[in-house]
Point group: C2
Chain length 336, copies 2
DNA sequence: TTGTAGGCGTTATCAG
DNA sequence: CTGATAACGCCTACAA
């Protein structure tokens, strides 16, 4: 059973102060004898040592805890990011409190408050809007804030995003080549959301003058919005697109479910592009290009930004852009 | 800017005690005058009020924080569960600290210790082995512990699991009917893992006497283990199975990737069964049956178990079995 | 080397 | 109704 400082002191017939001194690494400074240190360390090695983290937090005004706020954990990108970030933080002695907003601004604000009341040392947030972003910036006051995934602008704080524009350009270019003369459509979800906006921008940039007619929009980025857009497409064209890009996985899921409704299957000759990578994209027989976001790099950059801020140096600021990686799955020919 | 109790007291020329009394809802009990309450509430409504949760925790010896330990967050089942549980806890005033073990017992033990040092009021754990489960049971001592997903036995504590055995029976029965006289294989991952073991048991129960020849095993439940088993199958039979059940999604992903390697596509006539539901299963053209686990019910049961334990009544105990739901996707016929 | 005292912000108790 | 005060356990000076 693990021991408290007091128990160690009595067991070893030493003073509490002495125990604390060596346990807090001030042994040399206070010239504690080597044998005493030995004894203490041996004892701790055997039984363990339990600090009351709460009391410590009260005194030192830091909790060694960080907060992470994401829209949804059930989104693979965010859950992977959370996983990587949690490990990275833990390795550095921080625990992560993860909260999830369901993309609801009120949830989000409540969550920020709840975490701040618990005295988290810093906050990672995927903001849902400019308003809420500013709301947080106000609240956190002297605690570091690192924004993730969405650049709403108007902020001096640290920000980590994927290079969505570049990624979209690359994806569009490659798919254009594969798609031949047929139009390459873009099924965008919520075009107000900065990441989506950037993806659309990259697409536009490559498509040139007037790709507006090839862009479909929906208010949100959910599966049902993907279905909606593909249904719209069918109403207009009475057939499936030769090639299209989905602005995110849920959009793709929705769009493909409509194709399946219409045809009874997903026509394998359609060229499919999407953002975010998932092993199950391999279940499709189509040519599939996916733009993977590098969660490891995200976690690393986000954490270092947080760390420099925590160390009290510069206030965290500056945008980090992380390149995306293209993954291509060749069309699978069913030879029966 | 939010105010501390002290700031409010000085601003309103009242005593700190008075402020606390009304803020903590003891106004009536101590017969604070209505106008004083008014003044305080108005002030708080305007400026807000910030408690120091840390000091409160020190005094009350509770942190209003719960811990959740899962193998991986990037696994959709666990991330969905985490999401539901987090919301459920938050609604009840608890924050959730989520940690992730990568199925590594050492990680897991460290994590339990870290959370306990932070004085979480209770712990939800998906244990990776009987040893670690017992290890935790020792450590938590007087904190409630609720075990999830895996029944290693030998425990009196609360436990929430899916009814894997019943689910497997149902799945096997339905697939048998669809599969005709062809053998229905079972690609199991780590058969030591209780959830997998139960699934296998349900399968065996329906298959009767000697299905051993139709069961493949691997040491773990990762994608590469799925690949391994399907490769073994090919070495033996030089063709794909007519129908098979994967013990979990990663296994399925691995198995199908091998089929794609072998054939260049995933033969649509194969009947596929799997545990855990995912929208992307709709990307397959095959007949697909998936057994969905009901995360809402999990979160609800796990939380109520925790809550009764926290309220100090009975020590948490007893197993809750949550039924699975079968989802069937019809084979999609490609008419080209 | 070791002991002691003050204070972190809250709650609970007791005395006005 | 209101004010004062003792814990909660830890850290840090400072004294011995």
């Amino acid at each position: 059973m693990v021991k408290t400082v007091e128990q160690i002191a009595t067991a070893l017939h030493l003073s509490i102060t002495t125990i604390r001194l060596v346990l807090n690494g001030k042994a040399e400074q206070y010239r504690i004898s080597a044998k005493t240190q030995e004894r203490i360390h041996n004892y701790v090695a055997e039984f363990g040592y339990k600090v009351n983290h709460t009391a410590r937090s009260l005194k030192l005004n830091k909790t060694d805890t960080l907060g992470l706020i994401v829209p949804r954990l059930s989104n693979l990108f965010f859950s992977t990011l959370a996983e990587k970030l949690e490990i990275r933080c833990r390795d550095a002695g921080y625990q992560l409190m993860i909260g999830c907003t369901y993309s609801d601004a009120r949830h989000e604000n409540k969550l920020v408050e709840a975490l701040l009341q618990r005295n988290v040392d810093g906050l990672f947030v995927v903001p849902s809007s400019l308003q809420s972003q500013n709301h947080h910036a106000k609240l956190v006051e002297r605690r570091p804030l690192v924004l993730l995934d969405r650049d709403f602008g108007e902020t001096g704080v640290a920000l980590v995003v994927s290079d969505n524009c570049q990624g979209a350009e690359q994806l569009t270019r490659v798919m254009m080549a594969a798609n031949g003369s047929a139009p390459l459509y873009f099924l965008a979800g919520d075009t107000e959301q900065p990441a989506i906006k950037m993806r659309l921008q990259g697409y536009r940039r490559v498509m040139g003058e007037n790709p507006g007619q090839w862009i479909l929009e929906a208010g949100h980025n959910r599966q049902e919005d993907g279905s909606l857009m593909m249904r719209q497409f069918f109403q207009r064209h009475h057939r499936a697109p030769q090639g299209f890009i989905a602005s995110s996985l849920p959009i793709l899921e929705g769009a493909l479910s409509v194709l399946r409704e219409q045809y009874g299957y997903i026509p394998a000759e359609i060229n499919i592009g999407t953002f975010d990578e998932h092993a199950m994209l391999g279940f499709l027989s189509n040519n599939v290009w996916s733009m993977r976001q590098n969660e490891d790099a995200w976690a690393e950059h986000a954490f270092t930004a947080m760390q420099t801020a925590l160390s009290g140096e510069a206030p965290p600021s500056g945008k980090v852009m992380i390149p995306m990686t293209m993954i291509h799955r060749q069309r699978a020919f069913a030879g029966e």
